[in-house]
Structure formats: structure tokens, C-alpha cells
Symmetry: C2
């Protein structure tokens, strides 16, 4: 397995994610379905509405009784009571009569249109004048007009939002089959890494940033974080931590170190896991070249750079889409089509290298002129203050040689 | 209090939200800080880095020892061991010597630059050749170069994301003072509304969509949902439900009905709450005109239309910003500046009325030509299928008379 693999492009890595299979499904209550992904197509178990419903305040009538009505020659109809909101009409509509109904109310049998209240006026002794004709079907929803019985509502792969939850509630669907959330183990390694609680910080040491920042990012992408651990940068300890984590997790993310030695450990750790397969060993991007992707059976194994800015960007660019795959989310959803990004004017030249994809952190500002500007942050390598200052990043693609100051660029905001 | 109030514009309503005060703060562990808002400015308790740190793999040197070095005339330096990652340098750097160091490693005392490994080569018997000079400070971070001690990191009002959590972890800040999450009571009313579990649905009735769709939306906006109830459309029952909800909640959202009578009940319910104040009674928007905003002491009271599309749009446009206020989020944050929206070409004419702000649900599609198109959905009033089909909405502002087909418009995606 460990034969040398060529460095891949970012696009090739994303294409390889199709090797990741969605997790099994589970059934959950509707109240907890936001952000979950539908595991099997959902069809409407009933029609909506399931009765003839008024869409305007007015009078339920037989349309034919209003034909020819005008301001000068109104149609005269006898009022025959009212349908109260939420109640059934008590009797069928008798020709030549009109029954008062409010928006959302049920029409009596025999009524086939609603005259808006604006086009009626009382004419004394239980009679109204109708000053405009209505066509059959006007100002009402017939059964199934909104949703047909057995209509496909949501396809497998749909990420459920508040609107969808409203639609499901309207149909009385209170339990949903969704893909299980991926459970992720986060392991930080590196001889310089100490737990975050360490006070004071010894010289030469750095606190463990990545399990915190990556956990927050992955939770936003739908993951549940299980293990969070700092493990010494020694092969046996890394292998043992990963073997322990495998049974209870769907993904292991190992971040840490940037030396050649450590990268070897990541690969060697993967090799020691059962049924392992190396998919990616290095990506032609900056930052983040030493990204590793493998599988242990169906479990996903990522090796990310230890440097926090690189770890967060590679997490967003590669790990988040792999979480989408595990959750069975549609590949062609809004997320991957660039929504959520926005355009800005580049405030500085961005040189790049042909054949490599660059991810440049930027600060975004809006001037008095309302122009959105993206200012690249060229902090010294390893500066964590970049994390605090970057609003997002700009991608300089593989086959571009950079952007000029004043170019319009797409900003990918950080979560 | 109940004197007639003029219908307000959407902008006027948003301006009135400044009357809402942030909730008290609480201290929470860093692991749970994502999506929370900083309640008091956070300053760096220490400098980052707190030691002289290499930003490149190479050799720690005294810069002066490399001055004048070139390919033809390299500087010769004696190697004096290595600083291991995460370890302290054992001894100060002796002039004329070089100590191997990796990226992130600590420099020995007396070193003031790092020569990249690419510009060195072994010259036998513990000597290296340096083929390029380095300036003092090159390829290193001095203490405080990244973050100065006592530097202001995050201001009160900052919404914490994964990056921020990384920065706080690096400084060993494991507990954060944030504004409390708003606790919201959701009450649906209307004589036609029945609980979502109702099977079969009696004619004339509709299941309670709003407590589900609004709850999901408000959770996404940071709220915790407490009470969810369907209450009959009678004043005493509404007042009693609201009085019961007040002590345990920060906000009451009452949705339901669209008749004049019901709207009166909403106002009358507000009047019966302690220390009540009516701020808004009607907004010049479509859909959603009968929006009511009030306060009961510091508690926020919203009356929303019962029709689900109107309820969700008014929730997003008005209630979500009020949740931002309760959470103390900066007013001038990214959210309100239109990020997250995107541009699309309108696929159909959108007429409007001067003096009213229209929110038009749209479906978004991307053609083979990669053009993003927004197609307005003109479903019959009250159709809940609009919820399933709408990817977002387009705003036709107060002082515009609509858009033409082919115009570029801003799409506000639904959550």
C-alpha cells in the first residue's frame, strides 16, 4: 500500500471523496431534524389542502350565480350563514345563496368560487350585492392544489432546513429517516503540543489549538465530536490511539507536526489500521500540501497539517465535503455551487505559481463607497493572529498565475 | 397604550430593535463557545509566541555571521547540535556556530535569524556552508510578534467562530464570558390549528406548522426553544399562556390567525402583560403586514401572521435581528451587511407597489451557462408547497416599483 503516490490537485482530491459511503440511517423526531439529511425519498401521505379552502376573505358561491355581475347590474345573493374558521360547513350551498368564509376557511359543498369581500355589499334583509363575476376555482385551493397525495416532497440527500420542517409538520410527518451524524475523533500530535489548560506555557511549547478549532468547524458541518486527544508524536502511541478510536468513530482526523518524520508517522499509522487504503498523499495547494486521506474499511482517515491556519483551511476545503458524503448530502447542493461566497475587489496583488492552488486568507472591509474589498493577509508563517483577522479566503486556482490589485475575486467566508 | 399606531416601514421596525437590551452574561467552557457572543472585551493574557520561534526549517545563526555570504564565497559555520521540537535550546549560540532548528522550534539565546536549509550545505566535519546572507529577524517570530501581551483580541459583541476558538485555545483561555442564549416561547393560535400528531386531519383543520418551522429557524439564530404550544384563539387562554410563559422565557412569539379579530387578541394579550409597551402595530411589507412588536418589561413580544410563508419571512426579517440584539451581537456585523446573500438574474418581471417592501420567494437554478437565475414563485396565497420550493427571497424595496426580467437582484437564501 505504501508505494509512492503522486501529489494530487485539489479537484482530484474532491473527486476521490466519492469513494466515501454514506453512514447508515436512523429515525429521529421532527423537532431534531434541522441540519439532518433525508435518507429515503419522502412522499406526501395525504393531499394539501384536504378540503376546498378559501384563499381570500369573502363569500363562498356558485360561480355561475355571479356571471354577468357588474357595478351597474350587481348579482343579488341571499346570505346563508357563515363557515367558522376550523369548522365544517354545516350544509351544502343552495343555488342563489352565499356563505361567508374567511381566508383558510372551508367551503360548503356545492360552492366552487369565493367572491372577495371588497366586491360585495350588503343590500338589506339577508341579501348581498356582488359587483364582479368570479370564475370557477377563483380564490380557493381545491384538494391537492398545494401538494398532491403521494407527490415526492424531498429526495434522499436533501439537507433539511426550517422550511422543510414546516412542510413535514403540515403533513403530520413527525418522524424522519435521516443519515446518522458522523462521529469524529480528533487527535493532535507534535512534541511541542501541550494541553490547552497548561499554565504557564513552558518555553518551546504551544497549546493544542487544532482539536478546538477543528472540532468547532466540524460541528458546524454536522459532525459529532467524540474523542479529543493530544498524543505524543511516536508511532506506537499514534497507532494505539487510532485503534482505540476506530470502533466508536466514523472518522479520525490526525493533525500535527510538519516535519517529514511526522508525515511518515501519519502514513505508517494508517498502514497499521485494519483494511487500510491510502487515497491521497499530498495535495498541490498552499497552505496544506501534506494532506493525507485514507480509509480503514469504511472509516475515513485524514492527516492534516499541524499549523492551525493550514489545518483549518484544509478542514474546510476537504474534510467538510467528506462529512457531507458521510451524511449522504447531495453533491450538487447549494453548498458546493458557491453560494455563501461573495464578490470583492482585491486590494493588493496576489502572485501565485502555475500548477498549485493557493488559499489566501483575507480581511474583508466595506468602505464608505459601499465597495467590498478583500485585503490579503500575509502574516509570517505560523502566525495564529491570522485566524482572528481573516474573514475568509480567496482561491487562486491551479491554472492561474495570480490576480492583480483591483480584480474582482470570490471570497469564501470562514464559518 | 392601545392608541392607534401608524403602519411602519421595514427600516423603521429594524431601527426600533435598538430598544431591546442584551441578556445578562454567563461563563461557559471554550468547547461550547461556537456561535456565542463575547460579553466583555477579551485581551491576550500572554504574548504569542512567548519565545523566539523559527518559521522555517534550517539553522539558527547570528545574522552578522552570514553577511556577505554568496554561492561563490559561502560563510562557514560550525554546527553546534540541534534544538528538538518542543524543547528548550540547551545552551546559548556561540558566535560562528549554527544550531539546527525546525519550523516552530525554539531558537537558542544569541541567535537572531534562521538560515533556510535550502541555502546551506554540509561542508564536512561539523561545518556548513551558508550561501546567502540573512538579515536580523529573518525567518523567525520574536516574542509578541504574533499577538502582543494585553492586545485586545475580541470586542464585546463578537460572534465566536471556529477560528476565534482556536485563538483562545492558543492563549489557554478555557472559559469565556458570553451573553446568555435567548429562551423563546412559541405559541400558535387559530381555531383551525390542531397539533401536528393529529391523524386523520378533520376537514377544515390545519396542522400546526409554525411552532416547528419557527423553532428550527430561531434555533439556527441562536435561540433555545422552551414552550411550544397550540392555544385556542380566545383572549383569556392566550393571556394565560403568555403569563405562564413570561417567567421562564426572554421572548414570546405568538403566531396565528389573520382575521382582524385575532389581531385584536394579539394586541389585547400584550396589553394584559405586566409593564407592556406596544412598539409596532403593522409593517408596510408583503407578506406580513400584521406584524406586532411589543415589550413586557425587558421581555420581547412578537405577533406574527399565521400563514406559514409570511410567518417564516417575518421571522427571518425581524425576529432573527431581535435575537441578535438579545445576544448582544454587533449591529454592524457581517450578517446585516448582506454577506450570505448572492446575486442572480431575475427570470420574470416583478411588479410592486411604491411605499411597500415586498419579499418575493424565489427558486434558484444554475444553467449550463453557469448563470444563476432567480425564478419568483407566485403560488396561490397560503400554499405551503412554496416553503419546499423557495431557496430564498428577493426584496423589492419601498421606493422601487418592481424589477424587470433580466435585472440583477440580490437573493437572500433561507437558512
Amino acid at each position: 500500500m505504501s508505494k509512492f503516490l503522486k501529489v494530487k490537485t485539489a479537484q482530484q482530491v474532491l473527486a476521490l471523496l466519492s469513494e466515501i459511503r454514506p453512514l447508515p440511517s436512523e429515525t429521529i423526531p421532527l423537532e431534531r431534524a434541522r441540519g439532518r439529511t433525508v435518507a429515503s425519498d419522502i412522499r406526501a401521505p395525504e393531499a394539501v389542502p384536504h378540503f376546498f379552502r378559501a384563499t381570500m376573505d369573502g363569500f363562498a358561491v356558485r360561480a355561475a350565480d355571479t356571471f354577468g355581475a357588474s357595478e351597474n347590474l350587481p348579482a343579488l345573493l341571499t346570505t346563508a350563514g357563515e363557515v367558522l374558521m376550523g369548522e365544517c360547513a354545516k350544509a351544502p350551498l343552495v343555488p342563489g345563496t352565499a356563505v361567508a368564509v374567511a381566508t383558510g376557511g372551508m367551503l360548503p359543498e356545492g360552492a366552487n368560487a369565493v367572491v372577495m369581500i371588497e366586491y360585495t355589499q350588503p343590500a338589506g334583509s339577508g341579501v348581498i350585492e356582488v359587483t364582479r363575476p368570479v370564475a370557477p376555482g377563483e380564490n380557493l385551493l381545491a384538494p391537492g392544489d398545494d401538494i398532491r397525495m403521494d407527490e415526492k416532497l424531498f429526495e434522499r440527500g436533501r439537507l433539511l432546513g426550517p422550511r422543510d420542517i414546516g412542510v413535514l409538520a403540515s403533513l403530520g410527518i413527525t418522524e424522519i429517516e435521516v443519515f446518522r451524524r458522523p462521529r469524529v475523533a480528533l487527535i493532535s500530535t507534535g512534541d511541542e503540543i501541550v494541553p490547552v489548560q497548561t499554565h504557564p506555557l513552558p518555553p518551546g511549547k504551544v497549546r493544542d489549538i487544532n482539536t478546538f478549532a477543528l472540532a468547532a468547524h466540524m460541528e458546524a458541518a454536522g459532525a459529532e465530536i467524540g474523542l479529543r486527544a493530544t498524543v505524543p508524536d511516536r508511532l506506537e502511541e499514534l497507532v494505539s490511539a487510532c485503534l482505540d478510536a476506530l470502533p466508536g468513530h466514523d472518522m479520525i482526523v490526525l493533525s500535527g507536526g510538519s516535519s517529514v518524520g511526522t508525515r511518515d508517522y501519519t502514513i505508517k499509522t494508517l498502514e497499521r489500521l485494519p483494511d487500510s487504503k491510502l487515497l491521497v498523499h499530498g495535495v498541490a495547494i498552499r497552505p496544506g500540501k501534506p494532506v493525507i486521506l485514507g480509509l480503514s474499511g469504511e472509516k475515513v482517515f485524514w492527516g492534516l497539517p499541524g499549523q492551525p491556519v493550514s489545518a483549518l483551511i484544509t478542514c474546510r476545503v476537504f474534510v467538510a465535503p467528506s462529512l457531507d458524503r458521510l451524511q449522504g448530502r447531495c453533491e450538487a447542493g447549494l453548498r458546493t455551487d458557491g453560494f455563501g461566497t461573495f464578490q470583492a475587489i482585491l486590494d493588493r496583488r496576489l502572485p501565485s505559481v502555475h500548477g498549485r492552488t493557493d488559499f489566501i486568507p483575507v480581511t474583508v472591509s466595506i468602505g464608505e463607497d459601499r465597495v467590498v474589498r478583500a485585503v490579503p493577509i500575509f502574516g509570517k508563517s505560523g502566525a495564529i493572529s491570522i485566524l482572528a483577522r481573516a474573514d475568509g479566503y480567496v482561491i487562486v486556482p491551479e491554472h492561474a498565475e495570480g490576480y492583480d490589485r483591483g480584480d474582482e475575486v470570490t471570497v469564501h467566508p470562514f464559518v
